[in-house]
Amino acid sequence: MKPPRFTYHAPTTLEEATAVLREHAEDAKVLAGGQSLMPLLNFRLATPGHLVDINRLPGLGEPERIEHGWRIPALVRQRQVELSRAMAVSAPLLTEALGQVAHAQIRNRGTICGSLAHGDAAAELPSVMLALDARMTMLSADDIRTVAAGEFFLFHLTTTVRPDELLLSVEFDDPPPRTFSAFAEFALRKGDFCLAGAAVSVTLGDGDAISRTRVVVAGVAATPQRLRVVEDIVTGTRGDDDVLAAARDRAYAEINPTGDVHADAEYRRGLAATLVRRGLATAIAKGRDHA
């Protein structure tokens, strides 16, 4: 289990990095935290001719406060964000989900953007970013473009990032005031890829009625899946038990996962629906505690 041979590039400017990517495109892989790519190299499931290590690029290592939100550039480690107090205040959903990503030793090295670019449908961060209405910015030698999270994930392990592009950063806005969230996932062991997960948030309006809802499920489709019809059931209510039961049933009807050796399709479907209900219940309870 040793990596295959490759040509190693360690660009120190974005220009250099994008030039190398343009030159080698399909035969190149970007190495950031390496927590997804290095296992693939060790297994020789990925055999790129060129490895573009972006760890020496300057200025990409710290989350930045932007107008009404955050920008997380390519080299921000998951652990940095997880431990950030400011982030816990404005994006508690992300903080909560990060605590369930693998283990600290992986998060110390793994980057937020790397996980998104890898695009594993059972991973936590893609569903969180979808729930946060995040935007991804890609840089190539020719242009820079930004897409919404909803258009970013194309399929399991496939995103809209082109071979000549670098995922430069992800940005998301602070949620509206009085938004409460939960990340509910179920894995065989803590730290494993989940059998199903749900990233949810509710925004409380006048009289504690829910004015806005986000429900995204992970691990049950080829990409994270936003369940707008479920959101519609919850929005406008106070999230009582019967509403949550209806949300669960609707989620169950909306999801159509496939099975694998670890869990049959029916299990995943029921599990994801249960997690939607439980996630909503947790988020709503947080809101009530807060009041």
Binding site: P4, R44, F186, L195, V261, H262, Y267, L271
Partner: protein, 787 residues
């Protein structure tokens, strides 16, 4: 935990004491010497090309491109190592075995994914792997068999072309008259259980290195093995070499064994052979991907079990027919043969029928993994005990209690033949005390009350109990040598090699008591065939009960020789009662007249060239002893668990776990506890997490730790552990095995508790491990069946 007592009358001071391990220091400092840590200047590294198919003919192999890779010094196929191509014999065979040769590397066919097909030797492993990728094999793919059910199905493809069928062996054992017992019994229950066990998953994978010493003409092999002499003997046979021309060393540190490293593999034959051909040192460090497909595992048994019983729940008969997945070759029949005789367990059953269908499949051969066929047997039997209780409306702990063999019935003959060839006889044990201890500690009656309360709130609490016996301390023998060295140290040499069990400490404790000599003067060395010619190895929880007595005897004999020498040197009257005073030897009650160990060694061992030895001093203070137990000793135990099940997600949360354990005399309580708790973690894996999957073409689907879950500190709950000590009469120490008792009944206890929790829903737990999807499916099934 009960206070540990030394066996009466031996004056033991070290046996029974909680002595800190000598091994720890080097390991904690990062100075352990595992095989890949050994400095072997100039060693080349090997990588194997392995079969990509479950079953295929090899039409041709092209290694041209691989040979051309810079840094590659050799590529060998099966054809290239033909001179040593002999079948690797089954470790435990049977006269009725339909055998097919397991060769070190494939020649014209492959029978499982992962089977070695060719080996590359290169400057380093990176290059070796590059070259492996360039070897072209022309396969003709054949239909493969991926389960015992498929193997036995009518018209099934044959695992081995030309075979009679896919049955390796069919064995029946009977005691009493089961036919009549079932015919007349008031109640009979029948059930099918499918029990999967994981693999060994030692954190260090397998490893072999070898160098042919052209000066001494000796082949030196380093092997991360549990059984150095077994491996040496296998090599001597394959290479047709005298045993002394092969020195096989298990490094001082072997990173876990758990069974798979007690087997002998093709790679262990190929690597030294190519080292001899190339006249260079070659090492092969198995990586985890290889370990997943080529290290032996235990996999799956399917039991169709019936019990006959009366209105009081007393067992009248037991009838168990099971399929065992042997894999592509029979590396040994020990696992199913153990299962065959472990089913009756702690219960008095007059009429028994056990029947084995050991099946070939196109998957990696199976062999012992910690527990070795016992967890499956215990799961099948204990689940039936729960069903008997359920059927009669009795308490499951009470049904067990009524059927237990009593201490005064020891030695108890079950009526079957154990895998060591002797009549299955429990030598000692106190089963009622174990069960009562578990009941008390778990607060059984209170837990039942709590269960009722929680059920009323719609929560699902379950209680499970499982009892087991473990045949251990197997023969044929184990040996030890004791020698006084030139620097006045007693050196114990064991044939057995440890993988973390603390031999360097434990056997010094035993020798210390045997000699009455303080431990610091005793050193232990292990695992080198050059230092002691014969041995068997560490497996089946056998070493304490076999090497322990051997050490005890060898050390006692050495003490006598040392005392005899000292009496002469000190000009004391013959027959003076001697004793050690630290490193000095003198009359027991007069320490003022004494000689040191070093002085004795100078006189008796080193000697003076050409000068006559003092009259009466034995020449050469070295002893050896081989202990051969009459038959297997029986350890026993009981586990109790309280857990909660979330019926929506299938999550199992363990609330309480109690283990009652009886391994006879405890040599070092700290280390025995470590063995039991470590075994328990393995049992948790078997109960809830570890499952290998193969698709219909026998392609393995779980080949990384992303797909195969080993329990971490979060999954292994705290355990309350207590010991009772029923010393075995079969060896002078009274010792029995301790390495597997934590593992064996855990799946049974947990399965019982999960089913107990879900009893209001009527869900049946018949398939282990019990993963969340299986629990949810069992509930769903119960609902549709309208239980």
């Amino acid at each position: 935990m009960d206070v540990v007592r030394a066996p009466a009358g031996t004056g033991n001071r070290m046996v029974g004491a909680r002595i800190g391990r000598r091994e720890d220091r080097r390991l904690l400092l990062g100075q352990g010497r595992f095989l890949d840590d050994l400095d072997m200047p100039g060693a080349y590294e090997a990588a194997f090309l392995r079969s990509a198919h479950g079953h295929a003919r090899i039409l041709g192999i092209d290694v041209t491109a691989a040979r051309r890779v810079p840094g590659v010094i050799g590529v060998f196929t099966g054809e290239d190592v033909r001179p040593m191509m002999k079948p690797l014999p089954a470790k435990v065979a049977h006269p009725a075995l339909q055998d097919f040769p397991r060769l070190p590397m494939a020649l014209d066919a492959v029978h499982y994914v992962g089977e070695p097909v060719a080996v590359v030797v290169a400057e380093n492993r990176y290059i070796a792997e590059d070259a492996v990728e360039l070897i072209e094999v022309d396969y003709e793919v054949l239909p493969a068999v991926a389960s015992t059910a498929d193997a036995l199905a009518p018209g099934a493809p044959l695992v081995h072309e030309g075979a009679r069928d896919n049955i390796a062996v069919h064995v029946v054992q009977e005691a009493g008259d089961p036919g009549t017992a079932f015919a007349v019994a008031p109640h009979v229950l029948e059930e099918t259980y499918r029990i999967t066990r994981g693999g060994g998953h030692s954190m260090e994978c397998r490893a072999v290195a070898a160098r042919y010493d052209t000066v001494t003409r000796q082949l030196v092999v380093w092997d991360s093995t549990q059984a150095p002499h077994y491996a040496r003997n296998a090599l001597a046979n394959l290479y047709d070499m005298p045993e002394d021309d092969i020195r096989l060393i298990a490094p001082p540190d072997v990173g876990g064994g758990f069974g798979p490293k007690a087997q002998f593999y093709g790679e262990e034959a190929v690597v030294p052979w190519v080292a001899m051909q190339l006249r260079v040192a070659v090492k092969w460090i198995e990586d985890r991907r290889e370990n997943f497909v080529s290290a032996m595992m235990e996999r799956t048994q399917t039991h169709r079990i019936r019990v006959a019983f009366d209105d009081d729940g007393m067992l009248l008969g037991l009838h168990d027919v099971f399929e065992h997945d042997q894999g592509a070759y029979v590396a040994g029949l020990q696992v199913p043969m153990i299962t065959l005789t472990t089913v009756p367990g702690q219960y008095r059953i007059a009429n028994i029928h056990t029947e084995l269908y050991s099946c070939y499949t196109n998957m990696v051969p199976t062999s012992s993994v910690r527990g070795a066929g016992r967890p499956q047997a215990v799961a099948a039997m204990e689940r039936m005990m729960d069903r008997v209780a359920e059927k009669l409306g009795l308490d499951p702990a009470e049904v067990r209690r009524r059927n237990l063999i009593q201490p005064e019935e020891m030695p108890y003959r079950v009526g079957l033949i154990f895998r060591d060839g002797s009549p299955l006889t429990y030598d000692s044990g106190d089963f009622p005390r174990l069960l009562a201890g578990v009941r008390d500690r778990i607060g059984y009656d209170d837990q039942r009350a709590r269960q009722a309360e929680m059920r009323a709130q719609g929560r699902f609490l379950g209680i499970g109990i499982a009892c087991y016996v473990e045949g251990c301390g197997l023969g044929p023998y184990e040996g030890a040598k004791a020698r006084l060295t030139n620097n006045g140290e007693v050196l114990l040499t064991l044939a057995a090699a440890p993988q973390g069990q603390g031999y360097e400490t434990v056997y010094a404790q035993i020798a210390s008591d045997a000699m009455g000599l303080a431990m610091p003067h005793i050193r232990v060395t292990t695992g080198d065939t050059e230092r002691i010619p014969f041995g068997q190895g560490t497996f089946a929880s056998r070493i304490t009960a076999t090497a322990g007595p051997a050490v005890h005897q060898a050390a006692g004999k050495l003490r006598d020789l040392i005392f005899t020498s000292a009496i002469v040197m000190l000009q004391l009257p013959a027959g003076t009662t001697m004793a050690f005073h630290d490193d000095r030897i003198g009359p027991r009650d007069d320490p003022s007249r004494s000689v040191t160990l070093r002085e004795v060694s100078q006189v008796a061992n080193v000697g003076r060239h050409g000068i006559t030895l003092l009259h009466g001093v034995p020449a050469g203070l070295e002893t050896s002893s081989y202990f051969a137990p009459e038959r297997a000793a029986y350890a026993s135990g009981a586990h109790g668990v309280v857990l909660e099940v979330d019926p929506e997600t299938g999550r199992v949360t363990i609330d309480r776990y109690v283990i009652g354990h009886d391994c006879g005399t405890v040599i070092n309580p700290m280390l025995v506890d470590g063995q039991v708790l470590g075994g328990f973690a393995h049992g948790i894996g078997n109960a809830l997490y570890e499952e290998q999957f193969y698709d219909d073409a026998a392609q393995p689907q779980t080949t990384s730790y992303l797909d195969f879950a080993l329990a971490s500190a979060l999954e292994v709950p705290p355990v309350e552990l207590f010991h009772i000590q029923s010393p075995s009469p079969l060896n002078p120490l009274g010792a029995k095995g301790a390495g597997e008792g934590g593992t064996i009944p855990a799946p049974a206890a947990i399965a019982g508790a999960v089913e107990d929790a879900l009893r209001p829903l009527g869900a049946r737990i018949n398939d282990l491990p019990i993963t969340p999807p299986k629990i949810v499916a069992a509930i769903r099934r119960a609902r549709t069946e309208g239980r």
